[in-house]
């Protein structure tokens, strides 16, 4: 009887509660629906089968694609390299092993957290204002949050790894670094390799997105084509990008991520001369120079007054509101799928795995960015970590 009294009833419907926003939103969408844009949509999708083959356009798109890939490669390489180093330093296990205290690793984690709290797009816009249009701006905008994210992943992987072998080798007299290299690195390197490969895909998408917002590359070309409703030109760019993404996915898959580490080291050696050959501005951003107009009094004053007059409360409230709305849909959306009979689910899952292209379709990404002007959340974990019916992006399975 006592046991019976201690039991608490489960509340299986509680996670569905945020779902009340879904019918409200669906109703709103239904009310606002009109057929005014159907011709445009038909034109857009129809153009997918008839992309433009104009040579001048292809040349421009090719150059844009090279800038996008250059940005992605450099930012990816830098973020993986620094992310790994910072990840090792912010791992409590390693910190304890090296200096017998985990406190510095915790402090480092706190320092790194704000870097990844800002989306690369926000970093891009901020750095664009500070440094002007420069090839390094896009690279830094992606590298900053990615480095922090990579550091977090590396540290979590190391800390979650059960390491009695570390202790065994330590007892045998192995030095701390040699011990880490032998007992820990082989255990975490495979999953880190997969994650790094995935980050390259993400970096490519982010570089495209930054282009849409004016930082150059293929994204800028796509945006211009879309704004002028040149759907055939747009699709030429989207297919070009799709081919690159598919090749990248194929390469990563075939190499089983073994090429990731060498590629990480080689990327800057290849990308910098490549960037020079594309006539990109690779000079040091002016923010690092005393000549930066931001250091002058007039600009500083106007910046301060702009900051003071911004409607911060409204902006924060609306951002919070949108976040809550999106979270409610994301939380309550997937569970109703479980109501479907298991056989249907199994078939559905199989269809997704077999029918979905192995690479994320960049055309839809680009279209979404360009048409809405809003950011699209980036997946932050490899596809292999995804749950069959949704991915919370929480990280690798423990």
């Amino acid at each position: 009887m006592a046991l019976h009294n201690d039991l608490r009833p489960a509340l299986p419907l509680l996670p569905l509660l945020p779902g009340v926003v879904i019918p409200v939103l669906a109703g709103k969408v239904a009310l606002d629906l009109h057929g005014g844009g159907l011709d445009l949509l038909a034109g857009f999708f129809g153009a997918a089968l008839h992309p433009s083959w104009d040579l001048t356009l292809i040349e421009a798109l090719w150059r844009g694609l090279q800038i996008t890939v250059f940005t992605a490669m450099l930012s990816w390489s830098g973020s993986c390299l620094f992310g790994c180093v910072l990840g090792f330093l912010s791992s409590e296990k390693i910190c304890t092993l090296l200096i017998s205290s985990a406190a510095p690793s915790r402090w480092l984690r706190r320092v790194l957290a704000p870097l990844r709290s800002l989306h690369e797009l926000i970093w891009g816009l901020l750095l664009l204002q500070l440094c002007g249009l420069n090839a390094w701006v896009a690279v830094a905008a992606i590298a900053l949050p990615y480095t922090s994210l990579m550091a977090r992943v590396v540290a979590d992987q190391i800390d979650s790894h059960d390491t009695p072998t570390l202790m065994a080798l330590q007892c045998m007299g192995a030095g701390s670094l040699a011990n880490l290299l032998t007992a820990l690195w082989p255990a975490v390197s495979t999953s880190l390799g997969h994650h790094m490969a995935h980050r390259l895909e993400c970096a490519l998408r982010s570089a495209l997105l930054l282009g849409v917002f004016g930082l150059g590359g293929l994204g800028t070309d796509l945006k211009l084509s879309l704004q002028s409703l040149q759907f055939r030109e747009l699709w030429s760019g989207l297919w070009l990008l799709a081919i690159v993404m598919a090749m990248l996915e194929l390469l990563v898959h075939r190499s089983r991520s073994k090429l990731v580490l060498p590629a990480m080291g080689l990327a800057p050696l290849i990308a910098i001369p490549w960037g020079r050959s594309l006539d990109l501005d690779l000079a040091i951003p002016t923010i690092l120079l005393p000549a930066n107009p931001l250091f002058t009094g007039t600009v500083r004053e106007s910046l301060a007054s702009a900051l003071a007059s911004a409607p911060w409360a409204d902006l924060m409230l609306s951002t919070l509101g949108l976040t809550l709305l999106a979270s409610a849909i994301a939380i309550a959306g997937p569970p109703p799928g479980l109501v479907a009979p298991p056989r249907t689910l199994e078939q559905h899952h199989t269809t997704i795995r077999l029918g979905r292209p192995a690479f994320a379709p960049p055309p839809t990404d680009g279209f979404a960015f360009a048409s809405t002007g809003q950011t699209q959340s980036q997946p932050c974990c490899p596809r292999s970590w995804s749950a069959p019916f949704g991915n919370d992006g929480a990280g690798p399975p423990r």
Partner: protein, 234 residues
């Protein structure tokens, strides 16, 4: 006084009551006791992987935490769970035993290529491992083969004192014999066993019951049947 391990009033709350023990050079000691009697705890305290709540463990007069990396190599452990690096192959695992005597660069070379193949081959022969297993991942080996890889790693370490935690469990009689032979040719060892019948092969027998040292006698003259009480006491 080279290679003396001294445990002085060492205790670990809830697992081992205060005990003192001295392992002299050239001495082979059999450690007996039921499961949970404190054998593994004693071995972990002896190799420094566990810090005692009370007392001190010294190797040649130096407390274990103060031992230099090189001198730590003098104490080798054959763990009950083997603690091999599953992602590495046999030769890399065996070489891991010699990490204490080499530099970080050597450790890096061990990860990316084949190192000291001859030395590894030699210890593999000593433990009866086929040489064609040299580059096989340890994850793909059978239980007996893994046990011998762990023993080969220990031999590659070249310790003065071997601490072995139930090294014969899950081994067939022939393999048990081979492993025990290899342990007994080491200069000194402390081996925990569940086999009182093997006690006569050691110089000294110590027994634990519920974390308390209840037996410490020379093996000569001890009848294995007289040791069964260590396993029946409740």
């Amino acid at each position: 006084m080279i290679g003396v391990l001294e445990l002085e009033e060492v205790a670990f709350t809830g697992r081992l009551r205060p005990l003192s023990l001295r392992i002299n050079p050239g001495e082979h000691i059999c450690l007996l006791g039921r499961s949970g009697a404190g054998k593994s705890t004693l071995l972990q305290l002896a190799n420094g992987s566990l810090k005692p709540d009370h007392g001190q463990v010294r190797w040649d007069g130096t407390a274990l935490p103060q031992l230099s990396r090189r001198r730590r190599c003098d104490i080798g452990t054959l763990w009950q769970d083997l603690l091999l690096v599953e992602e590495l192959n046999v030769v890399q695992n065996i070489n891991a035993g010699a990490l204490g005597r080499h530099s970080l660069f050597w450790a890096l070379r061990n990860l990316v290529g084949t190192l000291n193949e001859g030395a590894c081959h030699e210890v593999m022969l000593q433990v009866g491992l086929e040489s064609d297993l040299l580059f096989t991942s340890v994850a793909a080996l059978s239980g007996g083969q893994r046990q011998r890889v762990a023993l080969a790693r220990l031999l590659r370490q070249e310790p003065s004192l071997v601490l072995a935690d139930e090294p014969l469990s899950a081994l067939d009689p022939a393999l048990s014999e081979l492993v025990l032979d290899r342990l007994l040719i080491q200069s000194s060892c402390l081996v925990s066993l569940h086999r009182p019948d093997l006690a006569c092969r050691f110089d000294r027998v110590i027994g634990l019951v519920d974390g308390e040292l209840v037996l410490d006698e020379p093996a000569t003259g001890l009848n294995p049947d007289d040791l069964t009480w260590l396993y029946t006491t409740i």
